[in-house]
Symmetry: C2
Subunit: 230 residues, 2 copies
């Protein structure tokens, strides 16, 4: 069974967990606090960031976007009836553009601030950056979130799924980040009905269940985190 | 002819320019100052970052890693005798890991600070972040650069090219970032002879010539920037 080094509230880890669950690939999960820079973890991946996938034959695949392309290289086409990377050239560009949008831009502007300030800093020793959340950064993240919600709304109004008419990796990237923000109770769900409906559809998929059951000790999830109808 | 929206000292743009030149794909270059958020540019790519490639048929491909996968999707295997994305599964992981290493980690830790502080801030109006460079950030970037040079040295001592025995996208990603830092005169070339020799080899390729001829108005390049033997 492959092993995934992850953190429960790392959005990139959640993205990979969702994908692996969609593909029905069972995985041993190992919780890694990347900021502690554990030597064995750095040996696996010198960048020292979650997620890192170690496949059955020992192949080490570090980072969400490298894992996506690895799965595309390895899995047969239409594996389990899914085609998360579309065949058409334009749809492929759009899928990859949106994976990048959420895993880099949304992360830099929203998820990274919220998860760092509200989650990671609680568990870190003061000498490596632990402490109370910086309220200014939380405000910045929440302000940055609003245009992103509008952008997801713009996409889901015009299309069934984010990158087009079919479900792709892009939906799972977006949903992974939103699910972290939702755990922290920071998604303004009332802002846009189409975003809510799109998220309800993806949240209702069986692959989402393990994430909705995740609980971080000492942190109660937001009020609608595990609700399919919210 | 395809069009590339780029900035001469944007490392991700340089990476794509090198790749296109290696493939012999002539491109119209349009200089874009992404921080000015020009409306027509944001219409092309809402993320508003260089590089953006517009292909002959109008296909818009935004961002270095999406451009790489687009080229891999479009070009015939062994195009121009090059195989910048290797065939072997492990070599593909390693190539993509290192593209990400330089385009994300090296960028966040080194190039972004140096280019933002020394270049972009000169051209920006004060109200959108222009001004004198922050010397503390320049010190951070230069300190962060040293372990990266050691890491490139570690790789090039064990291998002919960064990702293995053959030239890959990874070498161009690394060289693109180093060439920006070198323009600014900040690469400590004396630190590691193997790094210098690897860079000399890649810098001597014809694809590198246009970059070495680049001059940003008011900024003289570092003393060895255009020298092949330094």
């Amino acid at each position: 069974m492959p092993t995934l080094y992850h953190h429960p509230l790392c959005p990139h880890s959640r993205f990979v967990r969702l994908i692996l669950a969609e593909y029905g690939i069972e995985t041993t999960l190992v919780e890694e606090r990347a900021a502690e820079r554990r030597r064995e973890f750095l040996t696996l991946d010198p960048a020292g960031k979650t997620p890192v996938l170690v496949d059955d034959d020992g192949t080490v695949v570090p980072g969400a976007s490298v894992i996506v392309e690895y799965l595309e290289d390895c899995l047969p086409p239409d594996f389990r009836g899914l085609r998360l990377m579309p065949l058409g050239l334009h749809e492929r560009i759009e899928t990859r553009r949106l994976i990048e949008w959420f895993n880099v831009k949304f992360f830099d502007e929203v998820t990274n601030y919220l998860v760092m300030e509200k989650v990671y800093k609680r568990f870190l020793a003061p000498e490596i950056g632990g402490g109370a959340p910086d309220m200014d950064l939380l405000r910045v993240a929440r302000a940055n979130l609003r245009p992103h919600i509008r952008y997801i709304g713009y996409l889901t109004e015009a299309r069934r799924w984010l990158a087009g008419e079919s479900l792709t990796y892009a939906d799972f990237a977006a949903a992974a980040h939103l699910s972290c923000v939702d755990y922290l109770g920071d998604v303004p769900w009332d802002e846009d009905e189409t975003v809510k409906h799109w998220y309800q559809r993806i949240k209702s998929r069986p692959a989402f269940r393990p994430l909705l059951a995740d609980r971080t000790p000492g942190m109660t999830p937001g009020p609608v985190y595990a609700e399919l109808d919210f």
